[in-house]
Symmetry: C2
Subunit: 241 residues, 2 copies
DNA sequence: TCAAAAGTGTTGGGATTACACCCATGG
DNA sequence: CCATGGGTGTAATCCCAACACTTTTGA
């Protein structure tokens, strides 16, 4: 393309260019507090091409629709919950990435708390929560998107107290620690983890205990919303091992 | 103008969706080793809407063109140099972000060495290198793009030995330090900086001295390409104050 | 001879790691 | 009463920040 020529066509600046289908795709992460595993939600694709194969969920960006709204609509329709954590990841736009038509896809990732609604999602949508270490082959470049999202989540977890979005209201330190172990794919020393996390002041200890995993019972904690917001704005840096 | 008319969609999955104009915009950073300032290259917009105002440079993504190639084409035509550092930043897609027509823009940022070709670029393209602390009002959401790019550059500088892309072949430690000071917008202790940077092994000391800024003269350094590549793949983490 | 930038080391404090044993309790 | 997971503290090390003076030389 010749830049100067385009610039001269001042009245027809937009004219003659090639409009393209734009989609959003969503990498949905959830932490299963029972299995203590970080999961990603994948879908059996119902349409050709690639019907029957696993894929991310997405939609086309509609006329007059903000791209962020396109991504959050998908998520809200799926979960029935508004205000979930959602962040843009990256845009994938190789000319041949979709073999059916040219489509540019803006990938987002989102974090949600996995509690009982897990089964409900699955029934409604031919979907399944895969352990992030066991992601199957995905259609198109969705496998790359998931890889990129996991890498971004690692970075994010270090610089932002992200557990809030992935853990239920009340949780044990064991669950919190295994969330970090899942994200970093590494073991963390128990004593050092407790020390560092409690020192941040992010967690409030409750009176209650969870007795599902031990006879002694483990104290439940909850996030201190004020501290959390403070860290979100002031910045945060936590690292293990 | 009815954009839909221009698309012929062969498959029902894609049919009925709304194709959109897609652009790339480029935030071009350069480090001026004489002024010791980090700069961003902006352009006087020649077309309506907003003719005469400052803007980023960009282009529309063409039929069959990869988005990364669209971004690098712009940069190559502008500079005449291939293989410059170029990375995707973020996609901006509010429905009303461009008042002329709906356009989704994928922003990229790039780093280049500012040497003598500076003046040449300016003549050709109504462009000007602005200090990053003195960016004027920009058209559309380009101001936000520049802000986001600067934030990303800060993060990038910490985790990647990025100076390679912004400094000339030979440079003094003073220049290197002021590059970091410009990126972080903070003063850095001279002795600690030297210690830390030299300890990485990234720099090779040359015999030559640069005498333009002092009577004593400052030794010139050059990047050790092997170490640089090693850090790029293995990861890097440097922080000051 | 002096102004202006280049260059150079040490020390104290804080943070991080590594590491092992007692506690509580339900079955 | 014992097996299982919950919970706790300290010492050694490393890394980082703070800090001031000497050198060189052109004008």
């Amino acid at each position: 393309m010749n830049l100067k020529k385009t610039m001269v066509l001042s009245n027809t600046y937009y004219y003659g260019n090639h409009p393209i289908l734009v989609a959003v795709d969503n990498i949905i992460f959830g932490f299963d507090t029972v299995e203590e595993r970080l999961k990603v939600l994948l879908f059996k694709r119902l349409v050709e091409p690639y019907a029957g194969e696993w894929s991310l969920i997405g939609s086309f960006v509609q006329e007059g629709q903000n791209i962020d709204d396109a991504a959050s609509s998908v998520l809200e329709e799926l979960t029935g919950i508004t205000g979930l954590y959602l962040e843009q990841l990256k845009t994938y736009g190789n000319a041949d990435r979709d073999t059916g038509e040219r489509v540019i896809s803006i990938a987002y990732y989102s974090l949600l708390k996995l509690e009982e609604d897990n089964a409900q999602l699955r029934d409604q949508h031919d979907s399944f929560w895969f352990d992030i270490s066991e992601v199957p082959n995905l259609v198109l470049d969705h496998g790359q998107m998931v890889k990129d999202a996991i890498r971004k989540l690692k970075i994010k977890a270090r610089r932002s107290p992200i557990g809030f979005e992935l853990l239920p209201e009340k949780f044990t330190l064991r669950q919190f620690k295994s969330l970090y172990e899942q994200i970093y794919q590494a073991e963390i020393d128990d004593r050092n983890f407790r020390k560092k996390i409690l020192a941040t002041g992010l967690l409030d200890k409750l009176e209650e205990k969870d007795k599902t995993t031990s006879k002694k019972g483990a104290f439940l904690y909850t996030f201190n919303k004020e501290k959390y917001d403070e860290y979100l704005s002031r910045g945060f840096d936590i690292q293990f091992h």
